[in-house]
Amino acid sequence: MPVVMDAERISRALTRIAHEILEHNRGLSDLALVGVRSRGVPIAHRIAGDLKQITGTDIPVGALDITLYRDDLMGASVGITPLVRKTEIPFSIDGRTIVLVDDVLYTGRTTRAALDALTDFGRPKSIQLVVLVDRGHRELPIKADYVGKNVPTSRQESVQVHLLELDGVDEVLLEGKE
């Protein structure tokens, strides 16, 4: 199974993204990071750590669970309800620049759900999107502002992101056709 990114590449990509966020926003005063559960959350914390190292500023980090906003939930699904986890955004998002963080951007449906969910929390000044991997095949008009790595894939393949905090190892794998 090919390793698309190892620990070092992930770390360098996130540090680069932190610099890009700084450059793009000219300061951090009204910025907050919101990770999409599950793997967007540790990625958001790491970017916040990088931003702290670069500027000395603490950036608030929240966690967003999008399960209740999914568009495939009540359709033909087979009696399986995905686990709903807590959304924890311990700050007001009104008037803030929110940097949404997810591990993989694929169809764009998760991001659509995340945008709807965020809107229920307030009215941010703007929302930007960070993804560790963009694997293409968009089904909605959604585009990331910051990308760790573009990985061309076929729809039969699957991208597995493993992170130290949740999986004990940092790596991005591309699983082949079944």
């Binding site: 980090v61 209740l68 906003y69 939930l73 009540m74 009696g79 309800t81 709903v84 986890r85 959304t87």
Partner: protein, 325 residues
Amino acid sequence: MEVAGQTESAAPPLTGLRNRHLLGIADLTAEEIVLVLDTAEAMKEVGRRTIKKVPTLRGRTVINLFFEPSTRTRTSFEIAEKRLSADTLNVAIASSSVVKGETLVDTAMNLEAMAPSMIVLRHASSGACHLLARICKAAIVNAGDGMHEHPTQALLDAFTIRERKGRLKGLKVAIVGDLLHSRVLRSNVLLLTKLGADVWVCAPATLIPPGLQQMGVHVTTKVDEAVEGADVIMMLRIQLERMQGGYFPSLREYFTTFGMTEARVKRAKPDAIIMHPGPINRGVEIASEVADGAASVILDQVANGVAVRMAVLYLLAGGTDEASA
């Protein structure tokens, strides 16, 4: 730094309930109960938002069919349904017009013809929900059937205990009151024993149903023995409307012998919590100072009821396949 969500685990996001109805705690495994409680935690967060609504059940119709009077349970279900964006309809039928059997079936068949996703049913007859579950395509949620079960009450009680105590296993829970007529008792005993609590039940001998010992609880008529060292004191309402007299000499005497007073509460652990499913009879089963005291979580139970019912509706909605038709 403001931090959130660092205690995340990578457990596989599984599952729903095995059954497509919620008829009673008897049908749930310990794992399913924990799933409902965990899901309710997430639902509780929705209730703290400015906009207390998520689009999850959009386009689903839920009928609240109540053949018995109810304030708490019906409003709690209705709020839960609305917070999940379901379309809700309340059918309240005066208890006097109800006879068991055909009337209920006919009513249900007529409602069923309007294709609801779920029917939340309260009925004076034990087993009414099982009957509907056999004939309806809609998922049936038991909101209290006769003297049988009231599963969402037991789930919200467990949620409240876990919220305060961090666990259920090993806790001493004393349940005092009308054990004979109480569906809340039955559901609570089933749930608490499944999750490993040490359950003591207490009532006058006339209000203890036969066979209670076989449910894995300690049965006593001495309230002091039940309350001694308890982590949780759960009072049950004296159900005057279900009593055709003669269970005890007078309400006053009941209060003297079994009523929860501050003196009795002192026998429990210093951090014990006081619970009651409501509506409370002040000065009958519980003293006002206790019901309104610092240890009382009676209103937390009401608040948690909405989150727990949202969790149940969500978990059952995933199990119905009629929406794809």
